[in-house]
Amino acid sequence: MAAKTTHLGEVVKGLWRDNPVLVLLLGLCPTLAVTNSAYNGLGMGVATSFVLLGSNFIVSVMKPIIPKSVRIPVYIVVIATFVTIVDLALKAYLYDLSRNLGLFVPLIVVNCIILGRAEAFASRNSVGRSILDAVGMSIGFTLTLFVLGAIREIIGSGTLTFFQLGETEIKFSLLGANYPGVLVMILPPGAFLALGVMLALRNLIQKRLDDKSAG
């Protein structure tokens, strides 16, 4: 299947056809846990993207020398290394974000998107294709988390935050200062509600597209 995809197709599939969250339903734990604001979703997406790019690259480069029987331990060591780098970098340069994301940054190690792409894609494809795959998956993941975070933040608190570091922030109050907020959207159930609606919409649009191309 992968052999026939074009280079652009390798990137685009992560956005829609094989979107890691909306279609593959991978990595739902951080997806649901940290998306209580748009900025947190964006931060988690970018952190995960860095790890995914790094691990896809290293795994595809090293695949000729990795013995089949220990490939999973090797992947985990590679992934854990990149995750630790992200964790340290966030603590050093984006302290507020690292406080918001907390334990979910170290937990990227066990995010199945990353191990999944290493095992299912990077270990079988060329370096170039593996990077394209990682780029597509990363954009798909980050965008989905950002949209999910934005929906929850707008309905839940009436604001939309793009960036926050100490006193500097890019934050819009969309529904006015008197907006009472819908608490459930900020709480974990809100993540399931918003994600459910997004899944339904994605499937609806896909169905329309399929119907159109079929008839």
Binding site: I66, V70, V77, T81, T84, A92, Y95, G181, L183
Partner: protein, 211 residues
């Protein structure tokens, strides 16, 4: 080469390379991370020892002290106490206390007291209460009633327990835990006053239990 030997060599080499890279990056980021953590502690201490006559958590004020209280801390009965000084004299204290078990774990607070024992500020350092419910303890509007009360007549209880503090509805247990942290600070201040005011500051690298 037998498969087992290759396996060993590859895994060892990869782990060694990973450790080397991480050790280098850790060394590189260490000073920045330590500075961030220090600034975070300092910014909380500044808030609980304000210059203002009538302190209020919702109104930012300049700090009352001129020194660096994080370098002038004492460890009393396992509680970190930061001492703010002006012209060498102690003008305010910040106690890092941990309240009773709340809805979800304990709540760590930084309680500011002036030399007369009046609460000048309460900051929530760490908690895992329900967002939007127990997390209201973070709102300055709620915390403002805890600050500036006459220390001789104040009763540290929520309304439900017959005291003057309005509990957060639906989160009485979180409110109680914060108050417990304040009471711990006041009791320590009264019992160990001499030690807190005159003990030698902790040295770099020393740790305190309650930290």
């Amino acid at each position: 080469m037998p498969e087992t030997v290759k396996m060993l060599i590859v895994l060892t080499l990869i782990s060694a390379a990973a450790s080397l890279g991480l050790a280098a990056f850790n060394d590189y980021t260490k000073p920045a991370i330590a500075e961030n953590e220090r600034q975070y502690t300092l910014s909380s201490i500044r808030k609980v020892i304000p210059e203002a006559e009538d302190p209020d958590p919702c109104t930012p004020s300049e700090p009352k002290f001129e020194n660096a209280p994080d370098q002038d801390a004492v460890c009393v009965d396992g509680t970190m106490v930061y001492r703010g000084r002006k012209g060498g004299e102690i003008v305010g204290l910040a106690f890092r206390t941990i309240g009773d078990e709340a809805y979800s774990g304990t709540i760590t607070t930084l309680v500011g007291l002036d030399v007369g024992g009046e609460v000048t500020g309460v900051e929530i350092i760490k908690h895992a209460e329900t967002p939007g419910l127990g997390s209201i303890i973070e709102d300055c509007e709620w915390r403002s009633q805890l600050v500036g009360n006459d220390p001789s007549s104040m009763v540290w209880k929520v309304a439900k327990d017959g005291g003057p503090v309005d509990q957060i509805s639906g989160a009485t247990i979180s409110s109680r835990s914060v108050i417990d942290g304040i009471v711990d600070a006041i009791e320590l201040f009264e019992k160990k006053n001499k030690e807190i005011m005159s003990a030698e500051p902790m040295k770099d690298g020393e740790v305190c239990d309650g930290r």
